[in-house]
Symmetry: C4
Subunit: 275 residues, 4 copies
Amino acid sequence: MRNQDLRHTLYTIIHGTDTAAGRRFDVVLLWMILLSTLTVCLESVPSYRATWSAHFRWLEWMFTVVFTLEYLLRIYSHPRPWRYIFSFYGLIDFFSVVPTFIAFFIPGFRFLMTIRVLRLLRVFRILKLTSYIENAQLITSALKASAHKITVFIMAVLSLVLIIGSVIYVVEGEENGFTSIPQSIYWAVVTITTVGYGDITPRTPLGQVISSLVMLMGYAIIAVPTGIVTVELSKLKPNKASLTPTRVCPDCGQEVKKRDNFCRNCGLKLISAKA
Amino acid sequence: MRNQDLRHTLYTIIHGTDTAAGRRFDVVLLWMILLSTLTVCLESVPSYRATWSAHFRWLEWMFTVVFTLEYLLRIYSHPRPWRYIFSFYGLIDFFSVVPTFIAFFIPGFRFLMTIRVLRLLRVFRILKLTSYIENAQLITSALKASAHKITVFIMAVLSLVLIIGSVIYVVEGEENGFTSIPQSIYWAVVTITTVGYGDITPRTPLGQVISSLVMLMGYAIIAVPTGIVTVELSKLKPNKASLTPTRVCPDCGQEVKKRDNFCRNCGLKLISAKA
Amino acid sequence: MRNQDLRHTLYTIIHGTDTAAGRRFDVVLLWMILLSTLTVCLESVPSYRATWSAHFRWLEWMFTVVFTLEYLLRIYSHPRPWRYIFSFYGLIDFFSVVPTFIAFFIPGFRFLMTIRVLRLLRVFRILKLTSYIENAQLITSALKASAHKITVFIMAVLSLVLIIGSVIYVVEGEENGFTSIPQSIYWAVVTITTVGYGDITPRTPLGQVISSLVMLMGYAIIAVPTGIVTVELSKLKPNKASLTPTRVCPDCGQEVKKRDNFCRNCGLKLISAKA
Amino acid sequence: MRNQDLRHTLYTIIHGTDTAAGRRFDVVLLWMILLSTLTVCLESVPSYRATWSAHFRWLEWMFTVVFTLEYLLRIYSHPRPWRYIFSFYGLIDFFSVVPTFIAFFIPGFRFLMTIRVLRLLRVFRILKLTSYIENAQLITSALKASAHKITVFIMAVLSLVLIIGSVIYVVEGEENGFTSIPQSIYWAVVTITTVGYGDITPRTPLGQVISSLVMLMGYAIIAVPTGIVTVELSKLKPNKASLTPTRVCPDCGQEVKKRDNFCRNCGLKLISAKA
């Protein structure tokens, strides 16, 4: 079964982080991701694009080809290809490659390649920064635990900005820059979140009184999500189990014990590191 | 008593959410509310209004007629009509219908129909999203518990912006955009809440020094409501009683046990679901 | 001792809040303070001033004469005049009257009369809103308890904005609106407090990078005072002693028990309410 | 050993704060730092520079010469010169002196002298404001304890602004002021931190919808660092050990007991105060 062996070797190199080869592969990959993101950013600057247009195009294609190849190899070497394709990292890998191909038809799409930056999330796994992973999980679980509260809150804010937007539209009117209700809702969001661009501002005395009340209200409202998250964060205990040696399931990102044979989250057979 | 029976049937359909018919009625209603709000928003966009003016007018009237009929039926079918009329939901239902009629005299009023969006609050009750209701109640009770503290705080902020507004009015003067004390108070609110539109900004060195101090003060002040709400939220225990099957009083929104005969808050006789 | 009697009667009316006459006096006073503040605000609006200039002047003088008389009577009737003059409320009463007199020489000073609004603080005492007073005391004591931490924090922020201001001044230079270091410090305060007027903004790429870093830093920094105040607020227990009937020392504002003969804070002999 | 004695005397005066002479030296130094920082600030104001250019130059040089001398004496008198040079205060002392010398070649560098202001941090040590030092240490340790969480958070925000920046760049395009992806990232940072200058704002309806979502997201996101820091701050106990008389290691700033002979952090032999 040479084919099987090849797939296993590819798996330990591409998906695994326990062997020297696997780690080297991932470090090279991270640098390529960083460079390709940087390329996209620099290409968007008009003066650079004018001068080095051809180089940028060349680099872009090279990175896309490499990432496409890598993506296909990931699918090929994975014991359960479909599982990988629809996993969190699998989807990110897919969407990092797609924009360049779509750009054949809609040129602007090219710049959405920056979604690639999400691939850098692997860095935590590769560098074995378990403390960071744990902290990220703490924050994520606090946000999840408060998701219902935050949803209620966001819905309340949405109703509020809709009503405030209509009121200010009626009060200020089109001659003062509030050209429509959607535009006025945009103003209400800008105001209540204390962003305050100043591209649309109330000019009538009544409009300014209403705005002042909205701002003071926003002042009290901003306290709510902060309070919710703080309370959830204070409830969480740090993982005590972090003392036993662990690794991360390549499939779903679940932390598993080193000696486990199957992921306790998704049931993937864990291939033990050989090199 | 055929009339009595009709009223009871109407009640279970219009006010109740326990029967299939009642739920279907509510879902249709929610979609109509959403569509009617959307209509108002789109109508306010000048380019759409220019093209589809007649259609918008027609839709608007249709929705208003339907909601008016529904409102009258709600009053007719309710066991205690006046109680419904002056209940929270009753008032919202009333104010959702009124603007179109007022718009005969003051056309701009039409756009205040967006207050209709508050009718969507029923969605929680209909979809039996008790977790969301509980969380909304948690947030509301935390805000209520801190209402006195927040009031003291808002009064302190109001005195502060009045004094800061006068000082900056004297320092900057009308030639720098601070045309009156009310205008300067508006500026003070914009600044202390960190909204910062930039439509009025200090230009004299002394004005900028005072502004900087105001901002740093606002920085410390913003901590107060957040602290208050956080402390109140952390004091609250989640409802343990949520295990017993409950329903919501159609009159006042109080959560009552399923087998209760009278609402423990407003004393309404609760009509048990039959279908 | 008729004179002594007169002073005592005046004292219970002007300083006291326990008799019907005293309460009536205070309510009239509060309305006059509100009206006089409103007068100052409206007078500052150019269009109103143009039309009713004389009326405003007349009202202003009337209020000032009344408040001056009241101030003199307060001094006359108080058992320890100097103590009153240098008490918190005494100083506010003084500064509410002074601006109109200074306005003889510097007309703009007139508008500083809005400091009068601080006299409204008495409203809590008069209306016996002990719950509000307690909550105000809770907030104040939380702020006092965290004063040292907040001071350290404000000093750190001040050093930070000085250094950031210099760096951006060197990077952006006068041609981009950063005309001097004080001006750049003003920008740094506007940015780090997330006010963001937009009257001065970075235009060079390096300046925008530095600004972005400053904003993200400000993002983390804003968490600090909030955290400090929240922790202090959560440590505080509400006053349990609030069940015993209390009144407030007219001299220093200290809450004392109703049957106390001397203020336990400043030692003022407390005159018991007779009417 | 006269030389040794001289160095010891210099040490107690320059580095120490326990003798009258040492304290006097430090107070003079603090005033000079304040004055020199003020000089730099005022020099940057165009109108002042035009009038008093020569005086500013003269003052600047005087301060630099004095601080350079002081720096050399600090090195000379310190028992372990290299340790001082690379200590926190040693580096600040170095960088306070360097800009004037660099300004020979790059004139703008002169204004970076404001880094001097960091030397004022000594004020806490000199004035024996142990309460402030303790509080500063509390805040610092809370920030340190939450450093990993904050890092995860900042990385998440950075990825987010990169992706948001690209999306808005594609949606709004160069004709609406979003001239490149780096520029759009700057906009995303300005928006998500709620600074909101308004120098670049979305103008297309889709851009405004995306911006509104970004702001509401930023609203929820701002809750995270606040929550983290609050939780860490609430975990900390105030130093109970602060009752034993302490002094601060002149080398590393570690608080040590008065009778200790060696710093428990860096091992510096502590010279006991003699005067």
